[in-house]
Assembly symmetry: C2
Homo-oligomer: 337 residues x 2
């Protein structure tokens, strides 16, 4: 066969030369329906017959055609992850966890990136509705109403976002990690703590802000909230000026990625971290431990989030339990000077 997917007509309408249950049936001298039964519910078929059928299947190197199976059943054994930006290291963790858990349940994972607007994402989601048994919305740009509408059509879970209603979200327990982070800063003598938020539309960015505000309120310090910032290294780099000019002696950023940008751009202009400014991120992405200084961060169990999302979809056993977060102490935080 050539390497091109769309090359040449398939002969006789037979799309692939792969063996079917009909081939097995002929070989084992039974009806195709019996083959189907033997394959799916061996208990409902005579043991000897099952044996014969299995032998034939083996001999023909038969694999059920999941597409053909999906048509009558409506089940594809496929789960889809929809992400706005596959570039984001946060989604790596999620995808990885989801892929592993899916594989464990013998499901396949579909990845769709919406890159652009929520509009594009909605289109992608609607397409996926047919091909997947469930949807995982990871860094979605859809609005609550759109998500709820989708959830009415297919099992769906969101990650790091709660849209309320009947929609299940895999959410972090921010209090623990954020509490520890703020406590840590206060113990180091910081009294003015900055928060560098992500995009205005990010649900989780606002939750992180709230958690910080609450933790600070309980601890005789104050919060300065900066302007909304792109959750990228570039975004962080662009924010350095504002951070430096503010009275904050420590800044918690919406995510590690932008703090990596702060670190890099800061270093270029002689900013001493943590001497001049202490920095904390969120997520604990790959790479946040080998910057200079390595980044102190509130770890989100990304892998577990992906796993949990799949498990929720597959078993519906959603305990509603929040994923634990924890402070990972590294060297980007130090005493106020």
């Amino acid at each position: 066969m050539s390497s091109a997917v769309d090359e040449g007509p398939r002969p006789g309408g037979r799309p692939s030369g792969a063996p079917t249950i009909y081939d097995i049936a002929r070989l084992a001298d039974v009806d195709p329906s019996t083959v189907s039964r033997a394959l799916n519910r061996p208990g409902r078929v005579n043991a000897k017959t099952v044996e014969r059928i299995m032998a034939a299947a083996e001999q023909l190197r038969f694999r059920v055609n999941p597409i053909a199976r999906a048509l009558p059943t409506g089940r594809t054994r496929t789960l889809a992850v929809l992400v706005a930006d596959i570039t984001n290291p946060v989604v790596f963790g999620i995808i990885r966890g989801a892929a592993q858990e899916a594989a464990a349940h013998d499901y396949t994972l579909l990845i769709a990136e919406s890159e652009e607007s929520g509009e594009r994402e909605a289109t992608a989601a609607r397409r996926l509705l047919h091909s997947a048994d469930g949807l995982i919305l990871a860094t979605t740009r859809l609005d609550d109403a759109a998500i709820r509408a989708l959830a009415r059509e297919k099992p769906l879970v969101t990650i790091n976002r709660d849209v309320g209603g009947a929609v299940v979200g895999v959410l972090p327990d921010l209090a623990a990690g954020v509490g520890a982070a703020v406590e840590h800063l206060v113990a180091l003598g910081h009294r003015v703590i900055g928060y560098l938020p992500g995009p205005a539309t990010s649900w989780i960015s606002e939750r992180r802000r709230e958690a910080i505000e609450e933790a600070v309120r309980a601890r005789d310090a104050e919060v300065v909230v900066f302007g909304h910032t792109a959750p990228t290294r570039e975004g962080g780099a662009a924010a350095v000026d504002a951070l430096v000019r503010s009275p904050a002696t420590a800044v918690i950023g919406y995510n590690d990625l932008m703090m990596l940008g702060v670190l890099a751009a800061g270093a270029e202009r002689g900013l001493d971290v943590p001497g001049d400014l202490s920095l904390i991120g969120f997520d604990d992405i790959f790479g946040s431990d080998f910057t200079t200084p390595p980044l102190t961060t509130v770890r989100m169990p990304l892998l577990e989030a992906g796993r949990r999302a799949v498990r929720t979809l597959l078993t519906s056993e959603n305990t509603g339990e929040l994923l634990p977060t924890e402070l990972v102490l590294r060297a980007s935080t130090g005493p106020r000077t």
Copy 2:
């Protein structure tokens, strides 16, 4: 709808409540086959009829069911990427590129991880054969024969591996990047250059070694080849002892990931890079630029590799052209002291 994928029987055998071409046909008062035609080859249908059909489709918010379409056509508009280890940052780049290009052609990407043995990978691949129109083997552990067998059944392309025969591989032009790397080291005064190879089974690791040996041969220096090493940070960390004891004053590693490990473990034991030892990696993965010192590396166009793989699958226009590699100069290399 509940959140569980496998919950409750679907009523009446009708798997989904989604509108079908039959619904459109009724609404537009034509035969379903005409609807299908209008949707696929509007030219072959009366313009007015097409209009009516489109309006009806719009009104019903119709989306073709890709599963149902795939059955008679044998085409799923889905491409599968098979990777051994989704943890590897190298595959991020590849997946990202593949996902983008696939989306651009209105194809969906399936991710499968084989984690374990080549055996497991073979099973995964055979399953995928039914669901995908083409296969991309990214960090495969399959042997040449198995790959060629798969390629006989479905369009297939390998990345960073050449199995010969009719199988297309997306391969790098190592000479340029490796030549520059060796040239750079020699110019810095290094005369004994080490190569820290990846796993013994890695095809591309051997090519990298050959490229280095060839480049060194041309430049009055010599190569020391270390033992095969796991292509992970742990692998690199474990190799530090050997590197330090060897006469090599500069080491090129199979990939960035392991060099990150060398860097971290080396720093712990007071190894000065590049003072004591110059280090070069391969790939230029995310994160290799924010270590201390940032890693000099031979960049592989990972994103482009993913893109190219998809394009090759979709258009069969494989020019056989090798992807350019280049030396990215950072601070992990310095003069021999």
